[in-house]
Symmetry: D2
Subunit: 334 residues, 4 copies
C-alpha cells in the first residue's frame, strides 16, 4: 500500500502517522521526494482501512498495490475455472446457453419452454420461482411450487436448472437445484453470500446495478473464501443516465473480468436491455467479445407472441439466435 | 394507467391488445387522436405489469397515473408522520440529531462518545455492531457484543440507540434496540423489509446507492404494507461519475420526498461525502433545505484526533456544528 | 403531445391552462378519466415548451407523441442513408474501417501508419490535427500543418481522410478534408453544427459523454436542418460511475439508433475503453451487433510498441483484428 | 508523478521505460518494494501524458502528485479572489444574488423583472439573449436585440448584467456586457475559453453536465492562462441516473471547490432542479454550505403566475427567498 502525503506536512504529524502505522504491524518505507513524501507500507495490509487513511488531513491519497481479492484473482490462479453442472461446462473454452421464462407459471408452460429451448440447443433451463419485486403488491413468484415445476421440466428434458435464491431462510428448498442465482439486488447481501459459500453448489452471481468490477469480485470472494469455488459471474447492465434501455449493458466488463479473474463470465442481454428487439444483437456482441455463456429469457405465451414485444424472445427467435451465436464466437475467438 | 400506441398500428393488433387488457379485469377507454391512439385503463392497475405492456411492439409508451405506493403516499395521508422513540420525536417539525461512532469498539469508547454527543445536544446514539463490509477479510463488527455495549451507553446517557440490522436471522438480537437501521445495500432486500414490517420498531431506511426516490418509497411500502408505519427515510448519497467525494449527496431529494410522502426524511452527510471537512457544511445545507434530522459520525480516538481526518467528526467539531444547525433550520424554515 | 393533469385539479385552473394552450394555436382534446384528466394537443407542437408545461403545478406529466427530430427520423425516411466518400461507402450494408494515429506527428509517421492500415484493409485514414485537450498546457496538435500532412498521406495511399474540427473559425482550413469530425465535447456546440450543415461535407458526429440518444439525434438534426444530409453517428462511450475503463461503451445504442434513424452508426472502441487490450474484443462486439463501421487508433511509435499499452493498436494487432471483423459481421447479420 | 509498476515486471522492460522517461527530461527515483516497484518522477511533469503511461502493459497505475492546474490553485494563491463588477463583489465573504428571466423577451418584460428583483435585493440581472437549444427548431433567443434590451434594463435599475455567450464570432457584441457566461455545454469549448481569456471581462463558468471538479478547474485554467483572472465558477447540477429533477445538484462541490481553488463559487438551483418548488430550499442549502452567490430565474409572465410552476420563481417568491438567504448564510458561516 502506498500513502502519498500532502506537500508541506509538518514533520511532527508525519512522525505520528508513521508511528501509528507501525503499531498496526506494518513496515513503513519513506521516499522523500522533491515535492512530496511517499510512504510504502509492507506487511498484511488487507486489514488496513484504506478509506480512513485516505481521508486523513495530511494524506493526499492512498493506493492499494495488491488487490484485496485473492481466491478469484487470476494472478494467483492463471488457468480458467471450469464450472461443471452434470455434463454441462462453463468457462475455459466451454460456452453455455441458459434459457427459459422470466417466471415459472405452470407445469405446462415451463415444460413447453424447456423442450423448445432444448431443441434449439440450450444447455440449461432458467426460470424464476422466487421473484424480487420492487413493489410489495406485485406477484412474487410461485416459490416452492415453482421449484417443483422446474424439477419436472428438468426430468422431461435433462436440462440442469438455474433459479434465484433471495434469502438464507429458503436455502433448504434449493437442495436439488443445480445452479443458485444471486440477483443484482443481493450482490452485496453478505450474509447470503457467506452461506452460499458453505454449500457446494455452483453460484451464478449477478453484478449489481451500481457496482464496480472490484465490488463484484469482492462478492465472489465472499463465496469462495467460505470454501465454494464454483462461481459464475454475470454482467447484466448497470444504471446510468441513459434511459432508452432499462440498463446500460457494459460489455467491456467481459474481457476486463477475464483479465482480472479466472472465473467464467456470462451475459444477460434480456434484463440489461429490457427490449426484445435488442436481445439478439447484444447476445451476438457478448459472444463476439468472449463471454463464456448467455442467459436469455424465452417465453411462449400469447400476449408476447401477439405483440412481438417485452424483453423475452419467442422460441423461434431464440432458435435463430442460437444458430448464429456459436459461430460468431468461434470466428471472433479464432 | 395510460397506454400510448404507436402511430399506424394495425386495427387487428390493437383489438387483440384491448381484449387482453379487458381479460385482466380492466376497463379500457380509447381516445383516437389525429396522430395516435391513447388507451386509458381504469380498475386495479397495481397488479398490471407496466414493463411488459411498455415493451410490446405496438406500444409507444405507458404511464402510471396513480403512484404504485399507497401507505407512504402524502396524497392519502397529508399530515406529517411523527416517529416517536421514548421522548425523542422525528418529523412534523421535530428535528433529531443522531450521532456516534462508525463502529462500536469498546465500552469505554462508546460510553465516552455517547456522553460527549449528549452534552452537545444529540438526541440519539448511533453505532455499528453488525457492519456490512465489501471484503470478507475486513472487520465486520462486534455483533451481539456490540449491541450489549450500545445498551450500556444508553443506560449511562438515556440516549435511545439506532444500529444496523443486516439479516432476518439476527432479528431476535435487536429486541431491545430502539431504532433498526436498514443499510443502503439492503434497501431492496425485500425479505428483510417484510420481516421488519412485522415488528413494531421504528425503521431507519437508507436510500440505496443507485436507487430512485420511487424505489426508496416502494421499499418503505414493503415495511408499511406489513403493518409497521414507523419508517424514517435517509438520503446518504448516490453513486455518480463524480469521484472527489465517496458518493454524491442528493439534497434535492429532501424537499422532493417531503412532497411525495408524509414520512420523516433525514440526511447522513458522513457516509455521503466520506470526508470530514465536508460533513459540517453538508449538515448545515441539509438543515437549510428542510431535513427532519441528521445522522453523523463522531469519534474520539487518537488517530482521528491526530490528523483531523476521516469522515468522522471529533466531539468538539460536532459540538460546534450542533450549535448552529438548529438555528440555520429555524431561519430557513421561518 | 399528451398532458396528464394531477388528480383533483380545480376546474378554474384547468380552464385557464386550456385557454392558454389554445392561444398557442393548438387544438385541445380533453379525456376526463375516473382518476385523471388527459389533454391531447394537436397541431404544431414542435414549438411547444414541454419542460415548461411539465413543470406547471397542476400538471402531472407531459409526453411528446411525435419525436421532435424529423430529418434523421427513420419513420419519415425508411431506407438507410449511405454516405459516400470517393469510392468508400458507409451504411446500408456497407461497412467502413477508419484507422490511424491519435495525433498527426510527422510526415514520416502519418504516411507509415496510413500505408500499414491500408495494407490491412482500412477504408479511411483518421488522425488528429486539432486536438481538444482538457489542459491548456497540453499539446493541442499540429493544426494546419497536421492537415497538410494528412493530405500527403492521402496522396500516398488513396485513403480519404477524417479529422476533427473544433471551431467555426477554422472551417476554411478543412475545404480539402474528406470527412469532418465533431468531437464528443462539441456535440452540442450548436453554432458549429449549424455551420457544418451549410457545407456539403460528410460529418462524423460523436456522441457526447453524457448525452442521450435523442440528444445525439437532435444534434444530427441541426446539421441536416441546415441542408447537409451526410451525417455519420458515432458511439464512443458514456460517462458512468464505472472506473475501470475510461468510459462505458454503450453498444446497445447501435441497434437502437438503427431503429430510430436511417443514418449510419459507427463505433470508436479506442476512446471508449482507453485500454489497448479491450479494443479488439469491443470492435468485434460492435461488428456483431450491427455497427456500420469502426474508427480505431493505430500507431507505430516505439514507446507503444515497447510496452504493449495505451489505447492504440500496433499495426500487426490492427491487421489481426481487420481480418476477423468483417467475417464476424457477416455471420452475425446473416 | 508516481508510477506504480505491476509485480513481476521483467527487468529489461522496466529499464526501457526508465530510459524513455529520462529522455523526456525527468529524473526517475526508483523505490523497490517487497511486492512492487514505484517510480517517482521529478521535473516538469505537466507535459507528461499520464494516460499514455497509465495504459502501458507493465504499469499498474500512475498518479499525479501535483495538480495540473496552477493559476486557479489555492495552494499557490491562498487568499480568496474577489471578482468586482461595478460596485458588486463576489467572493472573499461577499455574497451576490443574480436574478432574472430565462430569456429576454421584450423591453417591458426585462425592465419589469429587473426592477422587481432589484427591489428584493438582487445585485445583478441575468437574462438569456443567445440561448443554446437542444432542438434546431426551438426559439434560440433575441440575440443582439436581447443584449440591447438587457442594457436598457441596466440603465433603468443600475444592475450589472450577466448573459451567455455561445460562440467566438459573437464576441464583439458583448463588449458592453458586464459578466459573460459560459454555459454547461460549452465548458470544454476550449477555443471559446481561450478567447475569453484574452478579454478583461469577468467570466461566469458553469460546470458541464458530466464534468468532474478537476475538469471544471482545468477549464478555468484555460481562461486564466490566457491572462484573465476574473473567473466565477458555477455548480448547476450533474447528470445522473436520477430522474425526478432535471439534474442532480451536487452541493458538496461548493466546499470542495473552496478547498481546491481561490475562485468564487456560485450555485444555480433553477437549472439544477428544473422545478420551481425546489428552487428556494436548494438556494438556502447552497447558502448554508458556503456558496458565494446564487443565480436564480425569476419571471413575471401570466402562465407561470397562473400555475405556480416551471423552474422560475415569481417575483414575490424571490422576495421571500432573498430575505432569508443572507441570514441563513450568516448563521451557517458564523
Amino acid at each position: 500500500m502506498i500513502v502519498v502525503l500532502k506537500s508541506g506536512v509538518e514533520q511532527e504529524k508525519q512522525a505520528q502517522l508513521i508511528d501509528w502505522l507501525s503499531e498496526q504491524g506494518l513496515q513503513v518505507h519513506i521516499s522523500q521526494g522533491e515535492y512530496q513524501t511517499v510512504l510504502g507500507l509492507v506487511g498484511d495490509t488487507t486489514r488496513v482501512d484504506m478509506d480512513l487513511i485516505g481521508s486523513l488531513g495530511i494524506v493526499d491519497s492512498v493506493k492499494r498495490v495488491t488487490e484485496p481479492f485473492k481466491c478469484c484473482n487470476r494472478k494467483f490462479h492463471p488457468e480458467d475455472t471450469v464450472v461443471q453442472v452434470g455434463n454441462v461446462r462453463i468457462g475455459g473454452g466451454h460456452f453455455c446457453m441458459m434459457a427459459g421464462p422470466c417466471s415459472v407459471e405452470s407445469e405446462e408452460q415451463i415444460v413447453a419452454v424447456a423442450k423448445a429451448v432444448k431443441a434449439s440447443g440450450a444447455d440449461m433451463l432458467r426460470g424464476g420461482a422466487f421473484k424480487p419485486r420492487t413493489s410489495p403488491y406485485d406477484f412474487a413468484g410461485l416459490k416452492a411450487e415453482g421449484l417443483e415445476l422446474l424439477k419436472i421440466a428438468r426430468q422431461e428434458t435433462g436440462l440442469p436448472i438455474v433459479t434465484e435464491i433471495m434469502s438464507i431462510v429458503d436455502l433448504h428448498l434449493f437442495e436439488d437445484v443445480d445452479v443458485l442465482q444471486v440477483g443484482a439486488r443481493n450482490m452485496q447481501n453478505f450474509d447470503l453470500l457467506r452461506e452460499l459459500g458453505k454449500t457446494r453448489k455452483p453460484i451464478l452471481l449477478k453484478r449489481g446495478l451500481a457496482n464496480t468490477l472490484k465490488e463484484l469480485l469482492m462478492s465472489a470472494e465472499y463465496i469462495m473464501a467460505s470454501g465454494n469455488e464454483q462461481v459464475i459471474l454475470c454482467e447484466r447492465g448497470i444504471r446510468t443516465f441513459d434511459d432508452y434501455t432499462r440498463n446500460t449493458l457494459d460489455l467491456a466488463a467481459v474481457p476486463m473480468l477475464h483479465e482480472l479473474t479466472h472465473l467464467p463470465v456470462i451475459v444477460d442481454p434480456s434484463h440489461a436491455t429490457g427490449i426484445n428487439r435488442l436481445v439478439s444483437p447484444m447476445a451476438l456482441a457478448a459472444a463476439a467479445c468472449g463471454a463464456d455463456g448467455l442467459i436469455i429469457e424465452v417465453h411462449n405465451d400469447p400476449i408476447h407472441a401477439l405483440c412481438d414485444g417485452a424483453q423475452s424472445l419467442r422460441p423461434e427467435q431464440f432458435d435463430a439466435l442460437a444458430r448464429k451465436v456459436r459461430t460468431v464466437r468461434e470466428v471472433a475467438l479464432a
